[in-house]
Every structure is written in C-alpha cells, then in structure tokens.
Amino acid sequence: MIDRARRGIEVPKVRKLAALQALREVVGRAAEQNKSIHISTGIGGLSDEWAPMTIAAMAIFRRVTEYAGEFGVPIKYYCIRAHMIPAMEDMIQSGYVKGGRPEMYSSEMIEFVGDGQQRAYMAAVMGYLSRERPAANIMLGAGFYETYIVLGAGAVAGCLQIAGTPRLYYQGTIVALSDYPLIGQELYAAAAEITGNPPDLGSLAGQDYSIIICLILMIVTALLATAGTTLWSKLLAW
C-alpha cells in the first residue's frame, strides 16, 4: 500500500480526526488570549519500547510548533528523557523559523526535570499549569500515570486539552478529561495524516487491511473452534 500510494496509484482518503482539525484553532486561541501552550510527549523516549509513540507525537508536534511560530505563541516543554532535549530543541526552533518568528525561540522553553523521574515531572507540570494557566495542554505519546495528573491539572487550570496515547490503561482518562482525545492507534493515524505524504497515508490503509484480515481470521477460528475443530487454532499458534 505504501508503494501504491507513492506511485500515485491509490492514495487513500483518511477520515478527519477532530484533534488534528482542532490543532490550528487551539494555537490560534492561545494567541488571542496571549497565553502559552504546554506540550508533552509523555514519559517514553526514543530508546525504549515506547519510541514509536514518541515518534508519532513528535510528528504532530512538528506541526504544532509551526503554528506556534505563525501565531507567535510561546511553547513550554518539560523534558523527562535527556536524549529528547536536542531533538525537541531542534524541532521547536525549526517550527518558529518556519512560522516566521525565529526570534521567539528561547532555550528556556525546554526544561529538563530528571531522567525518567516521573514524580518530578508531575510536580513540574502541575506547577506550570496552575501558575501560568496556558491556553492549551497538548499531551501526546507514551502516557503513564502522570496522564491523570497532567490532564487533571490542566482541567483545573481551565486549559483546552488535546491528548492521545496508545497505552491502554489511560484511554478512559483521556476520553473523560480531554476535549479532543485520540484513542488507541488514532495517534499513529494522526501522525501519518498530519504529514499528508502519500506513503504515510498508504501505510494507514495497509494497517486497516491488516486489521480486517485479523478480524476474518478471528471469526473463522471462533466458528471452527465452536464446531470442535482445533487444527486451525493450532496452525495459528504455530
């Protein structure tokens, strides 16, 4: 599907994700209110099993930083993985440059709070949200239980919240506390959609076809197991 999309044979159309549609509006509203926005990539970094979630979040934040540069909105990012500092510094700076406001970027926008120190991160973010009351709180990536804290503090501070994590434990929290949730794999889909590149969209179609194949396999296996045949499920287990 990636190859077909790249060659222009079949570029799939993706349904609109409300969170992505709202990104520009959210940053614009922050500019009107003369407030900042807080972004978070969660606890995961680029060197652990949550790297894909962080990469997907960074793909979306690239666009957010461009909007921030366009509208002149300050960004705040608390960094919990030391190796994310240069990547995020580069991304935010490039965003302001592309948005036309390179002078707005400051290295103080990225603040390191301790490598993997979740509680320090929680304290820092809670403090920032309750003091500065940013217009928006965007939390994407590998969220752990600081998701409760960050979204809860954001709700108390009255921020508009966009949140999404594929981590299964926090789907309920995201739905209940954020204004624009991205549930489960929608984060990956959003990362592909935001670039608009045909290969990225093609990969989404491939993913959906894989899900359909899994569904068919599950239904067939369930029917065969009900009929008393275990050969099929043994084949699948192999």
Binding site: I55, R62, A153
Partner: protein, 203 residues
C-alpha cells in the same frame, strides 16, 4: 565531514541497529551484535543525562542571576541535587536517609494526587447526556462496586456482574485495542525503517 550531517546518515543510524535487533529476534544469529548495540544505547543514554544536567543548571542559574520569580526554589533544587550527588559518594548514611525518608515520602505524596484527581474526574465526567460518556460512567460504577471490599455486604450480585464486565466486554475491548495498537506500532516502524518518518530527527 559535512556528509555526516546528512539526513540519510541519521536515518541509517536508526535503521541499522533496529534491523539487527529485529533479525536477531527471529533468527538468533546476531546475538553478539545485539548485545553490543544495546550496550552502546545504554552508554549513549547515560551520557545524554549530562546534557540534561547542563540544561537544568543553565535554566536555574539563569533564574537565580536574573532574580526571576520563585528564584528561592531554584536554590533549593540546586542544593538538593548537589548534596544528593555528593552524599552518594562520600556519606552513604546521609544518602540513604534522603532516599528512604525524604524521596520516598515525597513520591508517595505526589502519587496521592492521582487519587484526588480521579475523584474530580468522576465529578467532571458525570452530569452528561453523551451516550458514550454515560456508558463509561456505568462501567466505572460497576468497576467501583466490584472492587469495593464490602460489596458482598451490599449485594452479592456485584461480584458476578463485575466479573462478567471484566471478562467479556473489557477483555474484548482490550484485545481489540491491543491488536490495533500493535499493528499501528508495526506500521510506524515500517515507515521509519523505510525513511518516510523523520520526526525523531527534530526540525
């Protein structure tokens, strides 16, 4: 040496170790290479912590020198960092005291916030006619009753209902999310390996 800064080199630095680990997982033929790659990653991550420490000192020294609001907290943070660092090497008893009596208590106190925010979450989420949120609320209620230690004293039916909710709709939903997320992760990995995903490179 400017070729080192080309995007292709950066992508290769990501893709090659990933492929080594993937190939070793399925064939077991590259275990020595995998061990080396993991070791290098650990060493890099450890050195990256220096970056973080430099960033932290930069920020807080700026706050102190320019007497920005809340500058006393920067003194407390820097003093805590330096003393803990020194105690670890010179005064183990003091280090143990800091970890066991200060750090653990502070961490437990911060985690307690999760409980408080959960209850405001219940309050905020309630009071709605959105059918999806109503379903979530009903599931929350059933879950709360199921986990209530004295549930049998109220009604013995909570246990079978809660068990059914946990075993049937919850397991089904979790399985679906698990499969979807796993496929999404694989797709993102394929995109990254093929070089279409470059967000991890920064700007």
């Amino acid at each position: 040496m400017s070729w080192l800064r080309r995007r292709e080199v950066c992508i290769a630095l990501y893709v090659i170790p990933a492929l080594i680990i993937l190939i070793n997982h399925f064939t077991g033929q590259l275990s020595a290479a995998q061990s080396e790659v993991i070791l290098w990653a650990s060493i890099l991550a450890t050195f990256a912590i220096f970056l973080g420490v430099i960033n932290m000192f930069q920020h807080h020294i700026t706050v102190l020198t320019r007497k920005r609001p809340r500058w006393p907290y920067s003194i407390i943070l820097l003093a805590a960092f330096i003393s803990t660092f020194i105690f670890n090497y010179t005064y183990p008893t003091g280090y143990d005291f800091i970890i066991n009596n200060l750090l653990s208590s502070l961490q437990m106190a911060l985690l307690a916030y999760v409980g408080f925010y959960s209850y405001t979450l219940f309050f905020r989420a309630s009071g709605t006619k959105n059918p999806h949120v109503l379903m979530l609320l009903i599931a929350m209620l059933l879950g709360l009753f199921y986990n209530l230690p004295m549930r049998d004293a109220i009604w013995t039916g909570w246990a079978p209902i809660g068990t059914w909710v946990k075993d049937v709709p919850n397991t089904g939903g979790m399985n679906a999310l698990l499969i979807g997320v796993a496929l999404g992760t694989i797709t993102l990995f394929i995109r990254t390996i093929l070089g279409y995903e470059e967000s991890y490179l920064g700007g």
